[in-house]
Symmetry: D2
């Protein structure tokens, strides 16, 4: 029978280790170093001939380095006779540029997808991808894809502490997350409308019921602007206990300061991205997705 092993790239070792231990399959972190001139040194940690490979890679911090790591690894795995290569990318980058908004703009989401396909990635597992114009991963990626959501896990964690919170989608794109989150406990949710002015300015509207406790739910926090506008809107309406649940806490530049300065009391995130607010691990749902994916593959064979 075909052997399955997990190989992890930089920044994804800890999550890979948890999933490996859950599934009872071997895990090998690959050796990844950078030379002083910025070139990558990569070494496969085990013999891969004839094995099915689950490759964990984090795209959260330096997406281009992670992308080159992934391509070099995948190409070499196939050169060395590995079987199927399943990429687990807990956070998928480059999804926000999903259209040619201005003439000549490169649709990075498509380019990213093309690079993974050409590098021989046979299947892709991810968590809460930021899909907007593309409604499903299958519209964007040619390989088999499987997405799982951390929203039920975040909801479960959150409702241990705050039973009465109003669930808030900070903009229309986030409605899908609020629905999944509130669905876990059959709570209602509201959706705010975001209006962008320029690159960084954001304003928010929408009707808001009375209350004191609210939880803003989203897939990503990058610079934090969307969360801040929602939090300020909620404060204006008398909310005094505002919380944030998010899958991917990128938290670039002064995002943390802005969010807490806006009166957010707590920030709860997963471990798809290494960040100081990791309260919930996605290891369990990624492990389950891999089991589904592999049994499905088995059935097909």
């Amino acid at each position: 029978m075909e052997q399955i092993v997990i190989i992890s790239g930089s920044q994804a070792n800890a999550l890979a280790q948890k999933v490996a231990s859950q599934l009872g399959i071997p895990h090998y972190p690959s050796t990844i170093r950078y030379f002083p001139d910025g070139e990558l040194y990569l070494r496969l940690p085990t013999d891969v001939k004839g094995k099915k490979i689950i490759l964990f890679e984090s795209f959260a911090r330096r997406p281009n380095d992670a992308l080159v790591e992934t391509v070099f690894l995948s190409e070499t795995l196939h050169d060395k006779g590995a079987g199927e290569v399943i990429l687990v990318a807990p956070y998928l980058p480059y999804l926000r540029q999903d259209s040619e908004f201005n003439p000549g703009e490169i649709v990075s989401a498509k380019m990213f997808s093309t690079m993974l396909s050409k590098a021989g990635i046979d299947a892709l597992v991810t968590v809460d991808p930021h899909l907007h114009r593309f409604k499903d991963l299958s519209e964007l990626f040619k390989m088999k894809t499987l997405k799982v959501s951390a929203m039920p896990l975040l909801a479960e964690y959150f409702y241990n502490y705050h039973q009465e919170a109003l669930v808030v989608a900070p903009d229309e794109e986030a409605e899908q997350w609020a629905k999944l989150f509130s669905g876990k406990v059959n709570a209602p949710y509201i959706v705010l409308e975001k209006h962008r002015f320029g690159d960084t300015e954001v304003e928010v509207s929408g009707s808001i019921p009375k209350g004191t406790t609210a939880v803003i739910v989203d897939d990503i926090i990058s610079t934090g602007g969307t969360i801040v506008e929602a939090a300020e809107k909620l404060k204006e309406h008398g909310f005094t206990s505002i919380h944030v649940c998010v899958t991917h806490a990128l938290l670039v530049q002064d995002a943390e300061a802005k969010i807490f300065q806006a009166g957010v009391k707590s920030l709860i995130a997963t471990d798809t991205v290494i960040n100081p607010y990791m309260r919930v691990s996605v290891a369990k749902i990624i492990g389950e997705a891999l089991e589904r994916l592999m049994s499905h593959v088995g059935n097909r064979a």
Copy 2:
């Protein structure tokens, strides 16, 4: 009475928030952004006139940026009439260059200390500083200093899972940490001897009793060489369940891969540095240190 507030720099917000909530004092993250040309933008988050300031700053990732942030913040706090400025640096950088090993070398540990003094830092709280030639922080820093150790917390966490482990100091410098760690449960410890060859090569010797489970204890993991050599020595002697407990998990370059490839089963670290192996928070011991420091100051006045 003098009001006390906590202000945090980038990367230290989460820890500052925990300590603030524990001590019941207000916490304000400061706004810190970088312009595309690398210049820093900083804004104080609250009026500081006449207040005592506890400034949290993480020096783990880009120590020079953190150092300039700290100096700019401390100078401005004093300009604006703040009282005493207490710096909480969970991880103290630049301690390894503590002597002029070759003529003309700059003793960075002293330079770092001088910069903090000149910037008006009145007191310094840190966790498990890497002291070697300087035996005590007071030999190096002119301001009041207070160090706390995460070793008892790490031991407490670790012994929940592994009661019978041999405690191992991977080199003589680490004996102090093994002593503090094993002291928590009255266990014995052993000390390996490290011999350096060049910048990166390390070899290890020392007498090792029989056993199966061991825990290597150290203050810092940077590139991981010391841990790897100790783990391989332990494997040679028949140990099959090797773990690592460390306060500051810097984990640069391929440290994680090297450590796990060397057969380490688990890595347990604190939150002095944001890393994927944070199992133990130093918030409690930093909070206690601040209480001691402030009551002492009060007594003195």
Copy 3:
């Protein structure tokens, strides 16, 4: 008699070497490396006891690293018995944040100046500093300062190729540079008015005479917005041969693309910042400034 030597930090070696050879004094590049964890390794290249030191440092690329380098070097020079330390900073960073525009903002220009003073810098030589609210370096820096202008050199170079160009200051802050530039050849100049909207948007007005060739003159190009607006205004008025002369070509992000897409035909810069458009060296004027500074010091003694 006191010996004078030039010591250079990273990125300033080439310029320091030219000045040293011009003045006939020895030049020693200092050893500067970064460890993988971001810490700095520094080693003085020569014995400095009793010598007067001219320290070259480039602050253009990573200003905080350069600032820490400078402080570590200056402190150690004094510890080791050096005499006066003269800092040559061809490009002075942090001058744009010269006021507390919003409450709590840190006036980085002052902080930068304070750090240099406290580190024992005795005199400062620079080229075309970006002074706006501070009218003179002496308002900002406590040590002796000397500024020189690259504008006559740029003008001299430019007028070899384009005798009939209209000199254009792209905004009021740049009038000083247009005056120095055009003064070299007794040409007239015009000043455009810049109106900022938000962080990045810029609009330009001002009356523009007829012509075909123009040269936009400024001290710094960072993201290039100011130059682009001026170039587009000139194109609207029928100019077809538009050039740019600038002292400090930082050229961050897509500045080059924006400038050339706006129709600029050529960009001419100095070597205060390492960049692909270095046509004019400031070595000569820095050398002359150092001679003035040292003869003055000699006279005073």
Copy 4:
């Protein structure tokens, strides 16, 4: 007839502009920016349908970012109906890892080549590629390749100043460059033998004639170790005027300091990499190569 345009990526605009002006074809710098989370924004500067594209890209500073830029650009050019895409990479990265030295190591040179092929690069022009185990670019790259050498240009420049210099290849791999360099003026050359110890230590042997002036010739300077050992060997043999000519001056970490501290009097480099020692432009030889390549293509058709 098919129109030809030059498009340049970041860091290659200045060289592209020179070549464009030499060949009399249009040049458009493409818009390339980085978001704070590290994602790339790219916009094509002109309509490319039906045009032949010469794409300039510099791989010298952050090779993985440049590689992703190149792939995104090339894929999009083809999507938008461009004809042949010729990549001009003045410096080719990743050539040093040209074999699996240790089991599992990724042969980056091959991976780099594969990525360019799959992205649709139809031809490649480069300067002095670092070929060692692969003897010719055609062994490594599937597309049409054309290499040119900057050695005759460097020799021409150098011999204006130093007619009597001994040409020195600092190791056997550099013999090819010394041959090309000295061939320009029919001078003899010698080859030193380099022995590596570990990652950074280097020693040099070889018989050296008497003399005072020498020029060390190589394709790349990265950390500078090879040059330093050669310079010290030459000093031991009484040489007092030692110079260095190099095509690609990467000059990472403390390379400059090491080289000048070893007594090198001058460093002369080309503009394949933006660096402070650019004395010779490769624009002319790249322009000629492009003309050959395009006439050849024409003939073939």
